[in-house]
Symmetry: C2
Subunit: 385 residues, 2 copies
C-alpha cells in the first residue's frame, strides 16, 4: 500500500475488490474486431491500443488517417499478465484481489458466442486464482446476450467455482437496462446463489452532452470517465430502485463501483423528487415503500474508489457507516503517466489517492482495517485470517 498505510502492514489483510483483467483469449477477441471495443496496433507505438469508449471513436478515425495522437490507452502487460497483477499487489501491499473482467465484458458478443465465451473466461479466472490460492478470487462474467436458460445455467455453474465470489455486470442488462422486468429471474438466481453483483459502468453518456471541445479531444477522456461513468451507474441503480427491483428481490446484494457513482450525493434529491411527484402520489410515497437510504444501508455496498475525502465521507454516511465500504484500485486503469521508464512497476498515485482518502475519513483503527479488507472478508466470504 502507499506510504500512508504503512502502519497497517502486518496487522490485517488488505483486499482490493475493484481490479480488472483481460485474459489473453479476451484480448484475442478484441484484436479481431473492427469496431469498438477493439485492440489495434499502430506503427511506432510500443503497445497496441485498447479502444473501448464511444468517446474514443473520433480519435480512432483520425489515427487511421495518420495523425499522431493515438486513441484509447496502451494495452500494457498490466491488462493480461497474472505475474503483473501479483507484482502490482505486492508493490501496494495488497494481500488479496477480487479480480473481474473489465468493461465491456461480454455485452457486445453475438448470442451464440456469449455462453461459450463466458465459460472459457470464467475458467481462465478460476485457473488464475488456483495458481495463487488465498490471494485471488474473482467476480465472474455473465453471457448477457445468450438465451435466458443458458444464462441461468451459467449462474448455476459459476456458483460452484471455488474462487468465484459474485458477478460483474454492466448497466445494459439484457439490452434494456436493469429495470427491465425480464432480468428479474437473473437477479433472483444470483441472489439465491449468494452471488453479489459488482455493478460497473461502461457506456457513460451520449457524447453530445460533453460538447464539441470534448469530442475534439481537447479534454482527453476526462468528461466521459470522470462524469459519464459515475452518472451511468447512478442512473442504472436509480432505475432499479424506481422499478422496485430491491423489493422484488430482497436478498439481492449489489456493490456499486466508484462509491456509487453519485448516488450518495443525490439520494436526498431522489427522495425529494419522488415525494413531490404528482404522478407518483399514490404509488411510491413514503411509508408505502423503502427509501433510497434504506436500500443503501441494506442491499447496497460501495467500493472506496472515489479519489477524495469529500466523496468518501459522503459514501460512508449514505451507507449508514463504514462497514459497507470496500477498498479498490481500479487497476490496471489510471496508471502513472509521467513517462519515466519502469514507472508503472512502482507505486501508483491513483492507488495512493484512494488510500489517503480512507486514512483521512476513517482514521487508522478497526474501521480502517474494515474498509481496507475486513469488510470484503465478510461481504464476499473470503477465507483465511
Amino acid at each position: 500500500m502507499a506510504s500512508e498505510s504503512q502502519p497497517l502492514k502486518g496487522k490485517a489483510k488488505v483486499v482490493d475488490i475493484h481490479t480488472h483483467m483481460y485474459p489473453p483469449e479476451y484480448v484475442k477477441v478484441l484484436e479481431s474486431r473492427n469496431i469498438i471495443p477493439l485492440v489495434r496496433k499502430f506503427p511506432g507505438a510500443p503497445d497496441p491500443r485498447l479502444v473501448l469508449l464511444d468517446a474514443e471513436v473520433p480519435l480512432l478515425e483520425s489515427a487511421q488517417q495518420g495523425t499522431s495522437v493515438l486513441p484509447g490507452r496502451p494495452l500494457t502487460r498490466h491488462f493480461s499478465s497474472l505475474y503483473q497483477k501479483i507484482h502490482f499487489m505486492d508493490t501496494h501491499h495488497i494481500d488479496i484481489s477480487v479480480v473481474s473482467l473489465a468493461n465491456p465484458w461480454l455485452d457486445f458478443l453475438p448470442s451464440d458466442q456469449a455462453f461459450p465465451s463466458a465459460k472459457s473466461i470464467n475458467a481462465s479466472f478460476s485457473s488464475m486464482c488456483a495458481v495463487h490460492p488465498g490471494r485471488l478470487y474473482f467476480f465472474a462474467a455473465l453471457p448477457l446476450t445468450a438465451p435466458t436458460p443458458q444464462l441461468l445455467d451459467c449462474i448455476s455453474s459459476i456458483s460452484s467455482l471455488p474462487y468465484c465470489r459474485g458477478v460483474i455486470l454492466g448497466t445494459s442488462g439484457l439490452g434494456s437496462g436493469l429495470d427491465d422486468p425480464a432480468i428479474l429471474p437473473i437477479f433472483s438466481a444470483l441472489a439465491d446463489a449468494d452471488l453479489p453483483i459488482f455493478l460497473h459502468p461502461h457506456y457513460g453518456l451520449p457524447n453530445s452532452v460533453f460538447g464539441p471541445r470534448s469530442a475534439a479531444g481537447e479534454y482527453g477522456h476526462v468528461l466521459p470517465l470522470a462524469l459519464g461513468f459515475p452518472m451511468e451507474t447512478t442512473i442504472a441503480v436509480a432505475r432499479m430502485f424506481l422499478a422496485g427491483v430491491f423489493d422484488k428481490v430482497p436478498n439481492l446484494r449489489i456493490i456499486l463501483a466508484h462509491s456509487g457513482g453519485t448516488l450518495p450525493f443525490l439520494a436526498g434529491r431522489i427522495e425529494s423528487c419522488i415525494m413531490h411527484d404528482g404522478h407518483l402520489v399514490n404509488g411510491m410515497k413514503k411509508g408505502a415503500r423503502r427509501t433510497v437510504w434504506e436500500v443503501l444501508s441494506t442491499q447496497v455496498y460501495l467500493d472506496a474508489v472515489v479519489y477524495g475525502e469529500v466523496g468518501l465521507k459522503a459514501a460512508v454516511e449514505a451507507s449508514g457507516g463504514s462497514e459497507r465500504l470496500m477498498f479498490g484500485t481500479d487497476h490496471p486503469f489510471f496508471p502513472p503517466v509521467g513517462g519515466e521508464e519502469g514507472e508503472e512497476d512502482g507505486e501508483w498515485e491513483s492507488v495512493g489517492l484512494n488510500v489517503k482518502a480512507v486514512v483521512k475519513v476513517i482514521g487508522e483503527g478497526e474501521e480502517y482495517e474494515g474498509v481496507m479488507g475486513g469488510n470484503a472478508f465478510s461481504v464476499l466470504r473470503l477465507e483465511g485470517e
Copy 2:
C-alpha cells in the same frame, strides 16, 4: 421557516437565493407556443399545465389524444403572483428573496425577440422588487440568442438596476455550451460589472439514458429532475473548468444550483482523471493549473438546495467551509402534493427538508445564520441589517 428554524426568528435575516417567478408577460409567450416550453389548458383541469422538459413531451402527446394523465405541472398562482411569493416568504419566515426567471429563461426565443423580451422581463422584476423594497432582489435574465453587442448592452443596463444582484443562466450559453470561447466576453462583462452568475439546469440529459419505462411515465419526472438536472450542471461547470474559463476570467463568480449538481462528490474523480490522462500530460497537470478544489473555494458558491444532510455536508466540505453556501427553496417548484385544499398555502415539505439539512449539518450558531442569510448578504451585497 419550517419548525426546525424557530430559534432563528428575530435573530438574523433569512434569505432565499433560489426562488423563481414567471412574470405574466412570460406566461403569455408560453401560452402562444405549440412546442415546449409551453403553457396549455386541458378540459377539466383547474390550472393550465406548464410543460417545460423534453421528458414531458410523450405525456403531452398522449394528453392531446385524450388520456387522463396530464403532462408537466399545474401553473398555479405561485408561478406569477407577487402576492403569493410574499405569502410564501411570510409562511416560511423568509425575510428576503432573490428571485429569478425560471427555466428555460429566454433560451428559446428568436434572435430578434430576445433583447426586447429581456428588457421587459428585467423591468418587470425591477418593478416587483420596488413594491417591496428590502424584501426582494433579483437575478436578471439575459438575451442569449441576441447578437453579442445587444447582450453586452443588456449587461451594462442591468448593472444599474437598483435591485439586480446577478444573472441567471442556463447551460447552453450562446448555443454551444459554457466552454465556448465566444462566450468569454460575456463572462468578462458580467465579472467586471460584479454580477455573479446563478447557473441553473434545464436541459437535463437525453431521454434515452433514462430508459423506456421512464419515457412511458412510470417514474413520473423523477429521473430527469433528480438526476438529469444535477448532472447537466456538473457537466457544464466541468466543461468551463477544463476550458480554463476560471483562469481566463479570474473575477468571474458563479453560484451553482442544487449544491453544485454533483460537483462536490465528483471533484476528486475529476482531479484524478485529469492527473491520469495521457492526452493532458503536458497541459493540465497539477502545478501548472488550479485544481477543481481551488476553484470551488475561490470562484464558486453553492446553494443549499440538496434535500439531505449527506449532500449538504459534502457541499460544505468541497467549498472549504460553510461561508460559500446559501439557503434556497426552489419555489414554486416541488409544492406539496397531498391534494388537500389550501395545502400549498401552508408550509412546504420541500423547504423543510433543506432547512433540516442545514440544522443537522451546520448546527444553529453563527454559521447557521450565515448559510440561512448572512452569506447571501455579503456575496450579493444585500442591504439592511
